[in-house]
């Protein structure tokens, strides 16, 4: 089982669409895939038309017998399941802080899913917190959508520093440019001359496209309604690139 977390300290950069679309592509290829909506906003759950609600609240995830397998819901697509969000995930930080081994508590609850899924995509909430540290501990790679702007790149460097300090060297950081608008000079400039210190940036970038925004109307992954659009094709390329990198590791 490979765990890939769509993560960024910043919000509104395309984490959810990355988790949902890449998860869909993995499942379409036959891999048993789980999308874990860890964002209290529940956008990934919304896209899959699944109620963002965890029966018994998030504390149930950590109490007694492992309930995670019972909370998973199948989506409209074969091989693709979702562990829905819950609005009280906003308090997840406090719950994690309660117990022992607080940085590994999320890792413990996904362990029973090891033989059930080939890929787990986590849609994280924007922040850098104990929840994020838990996500880092259980993930094989962070997929970091990055808008080609100065501030976004600065955030990415912060993240790289954080990883170095916390010695989570096995964690791959796979950043990619997201919401790229070639009409903007700054986007063009950064894309053509990416910063030297960010070698972790993948070759594929995701364009800013209205197709992606329409996911909210269709409530479905991009490829199901605009499969030939530039954004859907870019996600396919991105998925191929990510798989190649993971296979080489």
């Amino acid at each position: 089982m490979r765990v890939l977390a769509a993560y960024n300290i910043k919000g509104g950069v395309g984490k959810t669409s990355a988790a949902v679309n890449l998860g869909y592509l993995a499942a379409r290829e036959g891999a048993r895939t789980l999308v874990w909506d860890l964002d209290p906003q529940g956008a990934a759950s919304f896209y899959f038309r699944i109620k963002p609600k965890i029966k018994g609240g998030p504390r149930r995830l950590f109490r007694g017998k492992n309930h995670v397998p019972d909370l998973i819901k199948g989506t409209d697509y074969r091989n693709l399941d979702l562990l829905p969000a819950d609005f009280s995930y906003r308090k997840l930080e406090l719950i994690l802080n309660d117990g022992k081994k607080r940085r590994r508590r999320l890792q413990k609850i996904v362990r029973p899913l090891r033989n059930e899924y080939d890929y787990v995509f986590i849609d994280c909430a924007p922040s850098i917190s104990l929840v994020s540290e838990n996500v880092f501990a259980l993930s094989d790679a962070l997929l970091v959508p990055t808008i080609p702007t100065t501030l976004s790149l600065r955030t990415l460097v912060r993240l790289l520093d954080f990883r170095a300090k916390h010695e989570s060297k096995n964690l791959a950081i796979l950043a990619f440019f997201s919401m790229v608008d070639r009409r903007k000079a700054l986007h063009r400039l950064i894309l053509d001359r990416p910063p030297q210190n960010a070698r972790c940036i993948l070759k594929t970038s995701i364009p800013y496209a209205s197709d992606v925004e329409k996911m909210g109307i269709h409530r479905a992954p991009l490829s199901t309604y605009a499969g030939r659009g530039t954004a859907a094709v870019a996600f396919e390329d991105l998925w191929t690139e990510i798989k190649n990198i993971l296979d080489e590791r």
Binding site: E29, K73, T75, R78
Partner: protein, 526 residues
């Protein structure tokens, strides 16, 4: 699961009719129908079916191929993979879940088409108020593509519920609708079994395991012939696979059947006239000999990846000429073997042997011994071989030559065959408990023997290679390292012998053998 997955559609009802009625009963969406050619794959000895798995290869109209694995009588796939072209062996599959799952079940066997059907699948999605799919219903109309002549083209219809995780209630409700309103009946068999039966095949009809039910009080000659007939069937079934070199196990099963036949003949030799036993023993020994080299080469090639792991990774590639060399020898051996299978000697052997087996017992048996009860003879023989194995094993010291271990290995093999022939005469649990430690000891002795023989044979191969291809010093070096590693492994295996033997010779097992083989009062009666 509280609902059935597959349903038969009542005669006179079309798939379209079911779909339309369902649309009036529950909110649903209909996907574009798919047409697909489905090949159900399994090994010759039904390894997947035996472990309740179904493997389907779907070929769509656009040429794309996917492989799906699921549990028998269930509709959710537990793994699927896209293929570039059809795969015959596990090594031809892309890395991933399907390969891992299948690898453990299929091992070195080839995946063969068990039945091929053409299906048109209409998918209905039962949706909730958010238009979210809560259950899939697949309505299939399938046609047999290649069965026997009168069966090809036979059609059958199926409705199958594919549940969505977390929505069990919706699947239950749909099941109720199908049965109570649409008069569909739960299907007796999985689509795979239904299609195979319609094409004239019976999944699970072959196994290399000897499965005979013997009557303890039947005369020994009658029981022996039941065993012989079963073994001959196994030999005959595997001939074609050997001729076509489908995979290595056809020859293996063939050889095991030959060896079992020889072993049974030797053990039962007083049951039949001496001249007959001698003739058949000679002929079956010949069969064993002509298949030996081909099997050895198969084994080397099967283990070749392990061989490469035994040498330094930087030299792994240097073994390739050795692989080619063995491959050539194998091909040559198979050609000779196929010629022998086509020879008059083999044909006569099979015909005469069959005639002998089919002959009425009194005409072909040594009357006084033959009429003794099977159970009595079986117990006596097993006891004798067991005692011999214990004696030989006790005599083996750390300094004993490998010939002694080889002798013990042969005795154990004979004992195992006898236990398997007469399995049905003993209580199942006891038989299992007797075979288990024996099997463990046999594994140990087998590995020891393999490594000894392999290292010797590789030595002779490297001599041949150095004559034919003197310019390959790396290959010779790598082969040398390999031989050294095999001998080291052999020593490690040798160190495990006494432990394995003690498990076999422990008092608890001894009690079992005594218990089972002690002549009963009825056997002692005249």
């Amino acid at each position: 699961m509280s609902w059935d997955c597959e349903y038969t559609i009542p005669p006179g009802t079309t798939i379209r009719g079911v779909a339309q009625r369902l649309r009036n009963l529950t909110p649903c969406k209909i996907d574009r129908p798919r047409t697909v050619e489905r090949t159900f794959l399994d090994t010759f000895d039904w390894r997947l079916y035996a472990r309740a798995h179904v493997l389907e290869q779907w070929r769509f109209n656009n040429g794309s191929i996917t492989l799906q694995i699921r549990r028998l009588n269930q509709t959710e796939t537990t793994g699927s993979a896209r293929l570039e072209s059809t795969a015959r062996f596990i090594r031809d599959l892309p890395a991933g879940t399907v390969r891992t799952r299948l690898g453990a079940l299929v091992q070195m066997r080839a995946l063969l088409p068990a039945v091929r059907i053409h299906s048109r699948i209409d998918t209905l999605r039962i949706v909730d108020k958010n238009q979210k799919t809560v259950t899939f219903l697949e309505l299939e109309n399938s046609k047999i593509l290649d069965g026997s002549r009168d069966r090809t083209g036979t059609e059958f219809q199926r409705a199958r519920i594919v549940p969505v995780r977390g929505y069990a209630k919706a699947a239950r409700n749909l099941s109720r609708l199908l049965v109570e309103v649409l008069e569909c009946a739960p299907a007796e068999n999985d689509t795979f079994v239904t299609a195979a039966n319609l094409a004239g095949r019976r999944p699970g009809d072959y196994s290399a395991k000897l499965d005979v039910r013997l009557d303890p009080s039947s005369p020994a000659d009658v029981a022996s012939k039941i065993v012989f007939r079963e073994l001959l069937e196994i030999m005959r079934c595997n001939e074609n696979g050997i001729r076509e070199r489908i995979d290595t196990e056809f020859l293996h099963d063939f050889r095991v059947a030959v060896r079992r036949t020889r072993s049974a003949l030797t053990q039962m030799k007083r049951v039949f006239p001496e001249y007959m036993v001698e003739r058949y023993l000679r002929d079956f020994r010949w069969l064993q000999q002509i298949t030996g080299v081909a099997r050895d080469m198969d084994v080397y090639l099967l283990h070749f990846d392990d061989f490469e792991d035994l040498v330094d990774p930087s030299l792994g590639h240097a073994l390739e000429p050795l692989r080619d060399f063995i491959g050539q020898k194998r091909e040559f051996a198979y050609q000779g073997l196929v010629r022998s299978l086509d020879s008059a000697r083999y044909r006569n052997l099979v015909e005469d042997w069959r005639a002998f087996i089919d002959q009425r017992s009194a005409d072909s048996s040594n009357s006084n011994v033959a009429t003794r009860k099977t159970a009595e003879i079986a117990r006596k023989r097993i006891w004798r071989l067991y005692r011999r194995a214990i004696k030989e094993g006790r005599g083996i010291k750390p300094s004993s030559p490998s010939e002694d271990l080889h002798e013990l290995r042969k005795t154990c093999k004979k004992l195992r065959y006898l236990l398997e022939f007469f399995n049905s005469l003993f209580p199942k649990r006891k038989a299992k408990k007797m075979i288990r430690p024996l099997k463990q000891l046999q594994d140990n002795l087998g590995k020891l023997n393999d490594m000894q023989v392999q290292s010797e044979v590789l030595k002779s191969f490297s001599k041949s290679i150095s004559k034919t291809k003197p310019g390959e010093p790396e290959t010779l070096m790598a082969t040398g390292i390999l031989i050294h590693a095999l001998l080291a492994k052999k020593e490690a295996e040798r160190a495990r012998f006494s432990e394995n033997f003690e498990t076999f010779a422990q008092p608890a097992v001894d009690v079992l053998f005594r218990d089972v083989c002690r002549p009963s009062s009825s056997d002692r009666a005249p």
